[in-house]
């Protein structure tokens, strides 16, 4: 008979497991900003730093037929920036590719 309290239990088991199957931690903020005229910018903030943002932006540019760049921000890390209103597109793409779950996406703006 063993005393349950004395069993050794790895306190980090959950954390390790979480890292494995969790594709993305935290929310991904998708924002829109107005520029001059009818032009807009879409920014994607909060993608995990483990991903290669440059590759992501490269395929996004191809997919949505827009230009885009990765911006290094001291506080928010790497932020994806795309030209035009790509909020719908980026949401669909992120879920399709499996970078983020739909409930992790937070779309801001109007």
């Amino acid at each position: 008979m063993s005393i349950q309290n004395l069993n050794t239990r790895d306190p980090f088991a959950d954390a390790i497991k979480g890292n494995d199957d969790d594709i993305q931690d935290g929310l991904v903020h998708i924002r829109i900003q107005q520029r001059n005229g009818r032009k807009t910018l879409t920014t994607v903030q909060g993608l995990s730093a483990e991903y290669d943002l440059k590759k992501i932006v490269r395929s996004c540019k191809k997919e949505f037929a827009c230009n885009g760049t990765v911006i290094e921000h001291p506080e928010y890390g790497e932020v994806l920036q795309l030209q035009g209103d790509q909020r719908e597109n980026i949401c669909q793409w992120l879920t399709k590719v499996g970078l983020a779950k739909p409930d992790q996406l937070k779309v801001h703006g109007f």
Partner: protein, 312 residues
Amino acid sequence: MDAEDGFDPTLLKKKKKKKTTFDLDAALGLEDDTKKEDPQDEASAEGGAAAEEDNLDLESFGKKKKKKKKPFNMDEIEAAIPSFGGDDVAASEEPEEEEINLDMDFSMAKKKKKSKKKELDELFADQADDDKSEDKENDEDNSSTWFGSDRDYTYDELLKRVFEIILDKNPDMAAGRKPKFVMRPPQVLRVGTKKTSFANFMDIAKTLHRLPKHLLDFLLAELGTSGSMDGNQQLIIKGRFQPKQIENVLRRYIKEYVTCHTCRSPETILQKDTRLFFLQCESCGSRCSVASIKSGFQAVTGKRAAIRAKTT
């Protein structure tokens, strides 16, 4: 209203009520989706006008109902899905299957009541009859099976009977809860070519019982622009915005900072406690923290040369 006030606001009761309203709406929505017949739609819209007005409280900005119908239903369903999860946790001792069955029964009983009472929605009733004729018969059988015999009645039957009695005694409740909360649509005008004025900003902040500054912060952070109050208490936002867009943002604000996350009642107080905002519900007493307003990353949209000149 008074009948509802008379009820003791225990958790169980709330849950039941909420579920019933949701189910009715969902059922309506489903029927609308499956059968896209205009007359039927109209009839249901007319017949369920009372019900809708009650539930639409926050969603309706005093606009046409029919237009709002589809998105509203989606919202309801979306909002109800998490609530389902919460309910299951809250009432884990009840088996899930039974709950679902009960809901079905409630909604059916309701429909029956409605069709009996209101002559307006004949079409709708007909359609319902077509759909649920067998179900209804079953219903009737179920509700009165134990009258003659001395067998034990089941929990379902008793519960249904109680709800029928409740609905009979106060017909107001058949329409669901009544959180009257009518909002006027935002008056958004263009000022010049690059600025937008939000004329009744103060009024809206007042009807929501929120500090104008808090609402202002949220609006500006969501829209990713800058703006300020001008002399005659209207908000001037930089950028071009349609009333529709502002309305969307307002709706998101209401969802996050005005309605209670547990019972969705709008009677809440927003308090600041150790740098965090807490939403205290007046009707159910729940208290939960809400997300702080962050504008997040802002891309450079102006002239870079001007920024450089300013910093150096």
